[in-house]
């Protein structure tokens, strides 16, 4: 499957190239645009982006692999990222992970067979005052209790 930006994203990409003082600096914004569109960064996507950015696919891949938010494989429709760092851990993050894990029969790193949920443990989300925290796609859900987790996931299911 070859990759191309939608017309709107293509316009955004061109706009970015104009605004930044050099092309390679557009790498992270371009990767975000592509991943938002495709859900992940597959080989064709990387190759096409490399051409657009004027760099080698291997160079671009080197950047992609460094960042935890970029993924080269498809993930579930809802990405459940539970913070496991200190403040969240003190507030019961482990129980949140276990709960989701049991509820959806998936281990950390796995996706439900229907492709709906992927469960990940992540590091401090910058929201320690409202621990424990889960990020689901673009949104933060804070001060979690197991009940609250159920209510949130019920809405998404």
């Amino acid at each position: 499957m070859s990759f191309a930006f939608t017309p709107e994203r293509k316009r955004l990409f061109k706009e970015l190239v104009k605004r930044y003082p050099d092309k390679r600096s557009v790498t992270l914004p371009a990767l975000h645009l592509a991943q938002e569109q495709e859900g992940y960064l597959g080989r064709e996507t990387i190759e096409a982006l490399a051409r657009m950015l004027g760099s080698a696919p291997s160079t671009l891949m080197d950047t992609v692999s460094f960042y935890t938010m970029f993924t080269t494989r498809p993930r579930g429709k809802y990405l459940l990222q539970v913070c496991q760092t200190l403040a969240c851990s003190l507030a019961g993050a482990d129980q949140v992970v276990d709960h989701i894990s049991k509820r959806h029969q998936i281990k950390v790193g796995e996706t439900t067979p229907d492709g709906k949920f992927t469960l990940l443990k992540v590091e401090c989300l910058g929201s320690c005052g409202t621990a424990p925290v889960v990020q689901i796609n673009d949104d933060y859900y804070e001060r979690l209790t197991l009940d609250k987790v159920d209510r949130i996931l019920d809405k998404l299911a």
Partner: protein
């Protein structure tokens, strides 16, 4: 403290506080206008130097002094980068400033840009802050539409644009040279210094990296003057309003604005309502996870400014205060943080890469009740190997390229030295006996 009125967070919670209209009717952009129209770059640098403002990103480096390192006669473009990576565990203040008052931060950036003669500035914001990035984009659009950004801002001949640049999940991109590499589209590997960013930063051009909170202070300094700022807080050498992030075992976790140098006990027991469930305090991590832990007895009378916390053997750092009550298992805490650092090490320096992995393995053994007596000395030896002298404000970082090495070595050492008993409880032979 009693008569202190919030300055940076004055508008938090007010309806519409994130909009340009709201900001304009609350003195918004008057300082930027003044800096652009009535002040020279030197005058801006001087007032900020005189104010004694220290960078709020962690190192506490004097902001005006940092700006003065930018070569004035260089023909290269100069860049300002607003560090909104906010990735130090325990820290959540910049997010608050952005959410409730993005224009205050943008106005600060305009003033800093005037100071260093920058015409294209960036906000490097951690990738997870999607909502905050959008909010900033909206605020910037409002500015562009009102000739407060773009060509000839405020009707002057000063051009400035600001771009929001999203990170993608990597703690080390909060370190300024890792951030610059990341902005350039590479992996966020910190650079060997010198050259410092002021000489060779983004695209090999002179660059200043400043924290969100640092920048948010600037409009107030321009409007009210250096003496006003100097007079805020307990210490003339470390003045100003300061945001403190309280998390862990307190009744009311959150961000509290207080005069620099407020006592830590006042923050914990008065502002944050005391220890959860009225338990007793065991320890406090005072400045983000990279700052060495202090025991309950060590915080007595401790003033929360850069020099005072340093004198107490730790750091004010990002002012991410994590409060730990008497029930806290310090071995678990130490393991949790070591694991964080092992995950986030960028892997460039062998002592950091190998050392953090090793520490995590040894500490995991402890948490499983499999610690060995000799492991305690081994932990200290490994921390010695990773990091030597700590002083974030100095250029020399001992054995590793960036201060991340010390940021893990020092806290782990402090846990083992100050809570040795708790580690002893996890020894395998004691479990058998």
């Amino acid at each position: 403290m009693n008569d202190f009125q919030p300055i940076l967070t004055k508008h938090v919670g007010q309806p519409g506080s994130a909009t340009l209209d709201y900001y304009l009717i609350h003195e918004g952009y008057q300082a930027a206008r003044q800096a652009i129209h009535e002040m020279t770059s030197d005058a801006v640098i001087q007032v900020v130097k005189d104010s004694g403002l220290q960078g709020r990103g962690g190192a506490g480096f004097p902001t005006g002094v940092k700006w003065s390192f930018i070569p004035r006669n260089s023909r290269k473009p100069k860049y300002l980068i607003n560090n909104a990576d906010e990735s130090e565990p325990g820290t959540f203040k910049d997010r608050l400033l952005i959410n409730h008052n993005p224009h205050q931060v943008i106005e600060g950036m305009i003033i800093a840009s005037k100071a260093i003669d920058c015409h294209l500035a960036f906000i490097y914001i951690r990738g997870e802050f999607v909502k905050e990035a959008r909010l900033l984009e909206t605020a910037l659009e409002e500015c562009r539409a009102n000739h407060m950004l773009g060509k000839g801002i405020f009707g002057s001949n000063f051009d400035l644009d600001i771009l929001v640049h999203r990170g993608a999940g990597a703690y080390i991109c909060g370190e300024e040279t890792g951030l610059i590499e990341s902005l350039e589209g590479k992996r966020g590997w910190p650079r060997i210094k010198p050259p410092f960013p002021a000489i060779e930063g983004y695209l090999k051009s002179p660059t200043v990296v400043n924290n969100v909170e640092t920048l948010a202070n600037l409009p107030h300094i321009i409007l009210n003057g250096a003496d006003w700022f100097r007079a805020i807080g307990a210490s003339h050498d470390s003045p100003g309003p300061k945001l403190y992030c309280l998390s862990g075992h307190v009744k009311k976790p959150g961000v509290y604005e207080a005069p620099s140098g407020i006592e830590l006990t006042e923050l914990i027991y008065e502002l944050a309502g005391g220890i959860k469930d009225d338990r007793r305090l065991k320890a406090v991590i005072p400045g983000g996870s990279s700052s060495p832990v202090l025991t309950a007895s060590e915080i007595d009378g401790l003033k929360m400014d850069y020099p005072s916390v340093k004198a107490a053997g730790s750091m004010l750092g990002s002012a991410g205060i994590m409060v730990l009550d008497e029930t806290t298992d310090m071995v678990q805490v130490c393991y949790n943080l070591a694991r964080f650092y092992a995950h986030e090490s960028c892997g460039q320096c062998t002592p950091c890469r190998e050392g953090t992995t090793w520490l995590t393995k040894i500490l995991r053994r402890f948490t499983q009740g499999q610690g060995r007596r000799e492991d305690l000395d081994l932990i200290l030896e490994v921390t010695d190997n990773i990091g030597g002298l700590i002083d974030f404000s100095l250029g020399s970082y001992g054995k590793t390229i960036c201060p991340f090495g010390e940021a893990v070595a020092w806290p782990v050492r402090a846990f083992v030295q100050k809570f040795r008993n708790e580690f002893m409880d996890y020894l395998v032979e004691d479990a058998v006996a």
